[in-house]
Symmetry: C2
Subunit: 98 residues, 2 copies
DNA sequence: TGACTACTTGCGTATTTGCGCAAGTGATGA
DNA sequence: TCATCACTTGCGCAAATACGCAAGTAGTCA
């Protein structure tokens, strides 16, 4: 099939939320880091280069878009990619950006 | 390969521009419409349901992200999807949005 | 219970984005 | 050249977003 299914406005709003999650370089950096394995918030904060509260907010965006998942161990929260399609999508976007 | 390549900040900025282009429901509606074939600005404006200047701005975003291409015929500008990967990416995003 | 670590949330601010409306540009045809 | 159609650009405003900093919450351990 070459033609697209026409979505409802409500569905497009959800799809756009995924787009928004992918619309910030710091969040993309998070995805790249998580591709190597799960990381805590403070680790991500250090690797990406921003403050912990700011990282927490970025992670909330990724999380509510369903791109990352979490696991708690004691006081530490570990984030991971929610699905292999996340990286697949990001790679496609990379090839798309000329 | 499962691990991701770490990009430069400059590259991630370009990738994020693609994300931003995909971050608005009206622009996603444009992509769905263009999946059926090229359309003029006024046609898109009518189909998507917004004013022509607004559509022109949305198209500029999609264009500068490299997602759509144009062809001029007289006074009419026809827009089309720039690449089959655009729709491929959008479909992946659709499956990703739970 | 109290101190500590790890993270989240609230708040104020600067920047960006989407939109409507008006004005500008560019190609066509009388 | 002038009028017209199709589109783009400029401008002002409201809403959304990213950020830093302060405060709050949650789990652990003495």
């Amino acid at each position: 099939m070459t033609s697209a299914t026409i979505s409802s406005e409500i569905d497009r709003e959800r799809f756009a939320a995924v787009g928004r999650a992918l619309a910030d370089p710091k969040r993309l950096c998070v995805l790249e880091t998580l591709a190597a394995g799960e990381r805590s918030v403070s680790e991500l904060s250090r690797d990406v280069g921003c403050q912990v509260p700011n990282m927490s907010q970025h992670l909330a965006v990724l999380r509510s878009a369903g791109l990352v998942a979490t696991r708690r161990d004691g006081t530490t929260v570990y984030y991971r990619l929610a699905d292999s399609r996340v990286l697949e999508t990001y790679r496609l976007i990379q090839t798309l950006a000329r």
